[in-house]
């Protein structure tokens, strides 16, 4: 009577559909529940996952990024469990986790009325009559984006669900580096760590199944030997394969095969060879996609950068968020530009859209890592800062907490670029108002940005001291504290605010705090083997701080210690390139230090050591552009050292090597402005070398290349002030070169461009004295040009007076800054010369005297003073100066007397005569002087 066929067999595959034209690969998408027929090679993990799912209400699935955690949960686990048994609700917790769960549950019930989240969850469990599985995918976002209070509240709420709803379970997908952070949830989610599964990269044998299986299902042929060959490349000789690369390679091969034979696609070795190196395939794929957008490529880059977190993982956002974030990386984008670009990126499978919420995100973290490499240091800081602000906005909305003064203090240099709007801008403005009110009460008139920075410094220091007191703290906390100090150190050492008048002692004080921290770290952890790398890094930073503090002796010792430490680390851990990288950086910085100290031979050896290391790193890790960039910078530094030492030929070779590397970097990474900036600097240095060597034509070519690059950078990144500053410097250099070549009209135009930019910079950034100093130099140069051969002394005087005024103010503000004092003296000396030309010897005496007061070491000003006395008929005083100094040498190598005699020739040519000139000439004898004006 019985039919032996079981009910499972009886109803198997009823209603199943087939799709013979499916792609066998998923590119960067995770496998979903409908992809089970293509999901091969993970049977063991699926079996383990399934068993663990029923073992406890909480299941933790962890592993490195790119190991396929999401695919295993969404495809492997879900397809094993019948839909009528469990309802999987996947939730991302990057944004408000409560809202995320609410939205997901409301979607399940279909426009459910507004109700309490607990009630909503209960309603889902009751109405759906199956296990409710909350999948917290990419759960590292919870720790990245949620403040502690939100995390705690959410953990407690979920605990309530687990305890009260028998049919509620959790499956958590987490990157393994966040496993320690998850321990804060253990008190709330019992057994969190007891029921866990570690997902590892695909083993080669499984990877083979993951290729062959789906190809068979989809009718795609594979050339014999292709799979082992590619797997050998992908595993790099190891036993594991990274899934994202694997998917991109095979998807690329499949799409190529589809174009050639749509009905019978066949993946071949030849096609694979055409794709190129595996290591760079994802980067190249991304680059090619973006490049193919032509004029829209820069917009696409801006948008892609807006989808990456400070940690180099992906982050999602709606169209508005993306447009605002993209502003950090370039010009403001219109809605149409954002829409168009997003659609192209979606079409190219780089970005995916959540159709319900209209959120967008990168398809995989592997892409985020590549895009992160496009960002300059400044852009990375901006991303970090915006992320902090967005987190703080959530906290403000929930608890009404405004931003602290230390955070506000970090904003000014970035504010233009951050382009804060809407709620974020309101939060910052509210916080600033509150801070101002607070400061008015506490400090009244002393409420300046300086105080904010001081508060930030003190706050950070107190935090660090607190951390120090808690000696028995977890390693993770210790590392976080260390990172905080690293960040603090970077802020302090690079802060333009701390260059303000009077900030030097504070800057020094803050740097010393950081120095103390690193020294304490070295003492406390000297015996800790696991901390050796951190210790060596701390020594490296100690050296940098010592250098910044002007303590070159100890800085050198610290660099040598860092070199010794990293040499040992690099030998013991040859597999870790970061040790070699640090070693190279230590050698490079030591080279700079030694070069500045005048020990050119030792500096050269240090640079050569750095170069040898960086050459190997760049060769062994072509996928890391930072190594090539550092190699180029070290070559450039060596070039400067050789150039200063007079070895023009070798200097030129070094510059050329730097240029070759940097050209390639710019070509391969056109979206990284830092590389363009470095390239421009190298061209500029080469230009100086060529100009000094007398090759004006070649120097002009080099200057022009630097100028072109800097013009583009300044145009594409108007928000980066530094690019405008560098552009002005390039115009100034070009002006000097053209003036020397006699093309005064073109030189004047170049100077004028420099001045236009520098006037804007000095006006908009009065807090940066360097911009004013360069403006003064340009006025000075323009004055010299105007007052040159047969020129206009009055016009020249007008320009040089401006220069002198600026330098005088700077000298008063920064009396300890020798460069400003020297600049002021130079301007006064030049002013004296123009006044001599204008037949105003008394004014010349006054100007030269002021110049010599400012900097008595500038001998050439004394000449102008003597000339002033001569033409003012104080011959005895003039003669005394002439005779007293006649044999002294000026920096350009000529004697005092030679310069005086040359000046007399010029006077005569301009119709300036004095009856004692001939007598003085006799006394001084040899007349040789052409040009005594100093270049900036």
């Amino acid at each position: 009577m019985d039919d032996p066929e079981s009910l499972d067999t009886l109803f198997a595959d009823v209603g199943a559909a087939t799709d013979p034209h499916r792609s066998p690969f998923k590119f960067l998408d995770a496998y979903g529940v409908g992809d089970r027929s293509l999901f091969f090679g993970r049977d063991n993990e699926i079996r383990d996952l399934y068993a663990r799912f029923y073992r406890s209400r909480v299941l933790l699935v962890y592993g490195e990024s790119g190991t396929g955690k999401t695919s295993l949960i969404e495809c492997g686990l879900r397809s094993e469990i019948p839909a009528e048994e469990a309802l999987f609700v996947t939730v991302r917790t990057a944004q408000d986790p409560f809202e995320a769960v609410r939205r997901a549950l409301q979607r399940v019930l279909g426009n459910a009325a507004e109700q309490d989240l607990d009630a909503l969850l209960r309603a889902v469990v009751e109405q759906k009559n199956k296990i409710l599985v909350l999948v917290f995918d990419q759960f590292e976002e919870f720790f990245l984006f949620q403040p502690a209070r939100v995390r705690q509240a959410f953990a407690r709420t979920v605990q309530g669900w687990l305890e009260q709803e028998g049919n509620c379970r959790l499956v958590i997908g987490l990157r393994e580096e966040y496993l320690a952070r998850a321990s804060e949830l253990e008190p709330y989610w019992p057994g969190l760590f007891h029921n866990r599964l570690w997902i590892r990269h695909l083993a080669r044998s499984d990877a083979e199944a993951a290729i062959v299986g789906p190809c068979e299902v989809c009718g795609v042929a594979l050339e014999k030997g292709l799979v082992p060959h590619i797997l050998g490349d992908l595993s790099g000789g190891g036993s594991e394969v990274e899934l994202p690369i694997f998917q991109v390679v095979f998807d690329s091969l499949y799409r190529k095969a589809l174009l050639e034979a749509p009905e019978h696609p066949r993946l071949t070795l030849d096609a694979y060879q055409e794709l190129g190196q595996v290591q760079t395939i994802l980067g190249r794929f991304l680059e090619e996609r973006v490049q193919s957008y032509g004029e829209g490529s820069e917009v696409a880059r801006q948008i892609l950068k807006a989808l990456v977190t400070a940690e180099g993982t992906r982050q999602f956002g709606n169209r508005q968020n993306i447009a605002i974030r993209a502003r950090q990386f370039g010009p403001e984008l219109s809605d149409a530009q954002v829409d168009e670009s997003l659609q192209r990126l979606i079409g190219d499978r780089l970005v995916r859209e959540d159709p319900d919420q209209h959120w967008y995100e990168l398809r995989h973290d592997a892409l985020a890592r590549q895009i992160r490499q496009w960002m300059s240091g400044l852009e990375q800081d901006l991303v970090d800062l915006r992320q902090t602000l967005e987190n703080r906005l959530l906290e403000y909305q929930r608890h009404g907490r405004l931003l602290e003064t230390d955070l506000l203090a970090t904003l000014p240099p970035f504010e233009n670029r951050l382009a804060l709007r809407g709620e974020l801008a309101e939060l910052v403005e509210l916080s600033k108002r509150r801070a101002r009110r607070y400061k008015r009460l506490r400090f009244l008139a002393a409420a300046t940005v300086f105080t904010v920075v001081m508060a930030f410094g003190v706050f950070s220091f107190v935090q660090w001291q607190e951390a120090k007191r808690q000696k028995v703290q977890a390693e993770a906390n210790f590392r976080r504290a260390s990172e905080a100090v690293d960040h603090f150190f970077t802020q302090v050492s690079e802060s333009t605010l701390l260059n303000q008048r009077g900030s030097e002692p504070l800057r020094r004080q803050l740097l010393e705090k950081a120095l103390n921290f690193y020294q304490d770290l070295a003492k406390q952890r000297a015996e800790d083997q696991e901390m050796q790398a951190e210790l060596a890094a701390a020594t490296f930073r100690t050296a940098k701080i010592r250098n910044l503090l002007g303590d070159h002796h100890h800085a050198e010792a610290a660099y040598r210690q860092a070199i010794a430490d990293f040499t040992l680390l690099a030998r013991n851990h040859p597999e870790a390139p970061e040790h070699q990288s640090y070693l190279a950086r230590s050698y490079n910085n030591l080279g700079l230090l030694l070069g500045d100290g005048g020990d050119a031979a030792a500096a050269q050896t240090a640079y050569q050591n750095a170069l040898a290391l960086l050459e190997r790193l760049a060769r062994d890790h072509p996928e890391v552009p930072a190594y090539q960039s550092r190699l180029a910078l070290s070559e450039h530094n060596l070039g400067i050292l050789l150039s200063d030492g007079g070895d023009a030929a070798r200097a030129r070779t070094a510059y050329q090597k730097a240029l070759n590397l940097q050209e390639r970097l710019v070509q391969n990474h056109p979206g990284v402005p830092e590389y363009q900036n470095n390239l421009a600097t190298s061209y500029s240095s080469l230009g100086v070398l060529l100009s000094d060597g007398g090759d004006a034509a070649a120097a002009r070519v080099a200057y022009q290349k630097a100028l072109d690059l800097r013009e583009r950078l300044a145009r594409d990144h108007p928000e980066v002030v530094e690019y405008q500053h560098k552009l002005a410097m390039s115009y100034n250099n070009l002006g000097l070169l053209l003036n020397e070549g006699g093309d005064t009209r073109a030189a004047r135009a170049a100077y004028q461009k420099a001045l236009d930019l520098q006037e804007g910079l000095a006006r908009d950034h009065p807090e940066v004295p360097e911009y004013r100093s360069y403006l003064a130099e340009s006025y000075n140069n323009l004055g010299i040009l105007i007052g040159g051969r047969g020129g206009d002394p009055a016009g020249a005087r007008e320009q040089i007076l401006k220069a002198s005024g600026i330098f005088a103010r700077l000298t008063r503000e920064f009396p300890e800054q020798v460069a400003y004092r020297a600049g002021w003296a130079r301007a006064e000396g030049n002013l004296a010369w123009t006044e001599l030309m204008a037949r105003q010897p008394r004014a010349a005496i006054a100007s030269a005297s002021r110049g010599l007061d400012a900097d008595p070491q500038q001998l050439w000003i004394r000449i102008n003073l003597a000339h002033g006395y001569l033409f003012d008929h104080h011959t005895a005083q003039a003669l005394a100066i002439y005779t007293e100094n006649k044999d002294r040498k000026l920096p350009e190598g000529k004697t005092f007397a030679e310069v005086v005699l040359a000046d007399f020739k010029i006077f005569r040519a301009r119709g300036l005569q004095h009856r004692d000139m001939a007598r003085i000439e006799q006394i001084l004898r040899e007349p040789v002087r052409e040009n005594r004006d100093h270049d900036p």
Binding site: D3, L7, F11, A12, F53, P82, E84, E85, N129
Partner: protein, 314 residues
Amino acid sequence: MKDRYAREVINGFPYPVAAMFVRLRTDECLDPGPNRLRYLLSTGEAITRFLGVVNLCQARDFAETAQRVPPHALRADFKPRFERIAWGTWLHLARESLRWLLTEAQAMVLIPEMGRFFFDPPPADSRAVKALGELLTLRNGLSHDKIRVMHAHEFQELCGRAQELLESVLEALEFLLDYELTFISEIDVEKRRRHEPVFRHRLMRLIGNSGDFEGDRHNQANPLDSHAVILSHRESGRHLNLDPLLVYEAKAGKAPDIFFYNGMKSPHQADYTACKHGGNFRGSESERAANLAEELTILLQMFGDTATIPPALV
């Protein structure tokens, strides 16, 4: 069936029945179609298996304690039927075991309501058992190929009929709410000087549709059988050991679950199938392989054509 009663079935019936029945109330099974038909029939089959297990175990216990040989109606073809057990066999075993017990004056059945469920008016089959039989007939009329080409109206008709039959069975089984299915996972002994030993039982409740099997503790003077699934009356505490026909297994299957005996080649190679998510396993793969084989051997000896009476205690 009233919604309130359906909820009682889901929350209070033994897990093997509740776990299958609850699926009928999910979105995937609401509309008449292959999925709904499948779970209507699966629930019917689960009920039959469960009743078969209970009645056969009652008969086994009676045979052992009363030293009686089962009647020919139960023993005829028992071995081949038992080795290739299916829905129809379970129904047969459930009915014939109970029929025997009801005719034996000494027999004490754990579930007295079972008599009326099967025979009403005795000795005729009750309406509920006839409904189970009809569900079985309905299922035997189906084949994989047939289902694949069935039209919507045919599913509608079949689902309607199957539901009607199932509801009548479930309504007649209301008495199951008075019984509790548990698994005794551990027994600790506590013995103090001058006191009788106390046996602390760690129990897993196998009631309702949740596969979590929440834990419970229970102290009593006499130990129950460890690692056994038992059915007990909530008030009186009277109980029946359902091993080896219904077992809890944490390791041998795909996941921890309750498993029905599902045929065998020999007592050492018995097959078990999960009530819900545990997949299948072979008895020899279990940590209790020897126990299971021993108990199955006893059943074969007891109900085989050449039945022998095993000693009550071994």
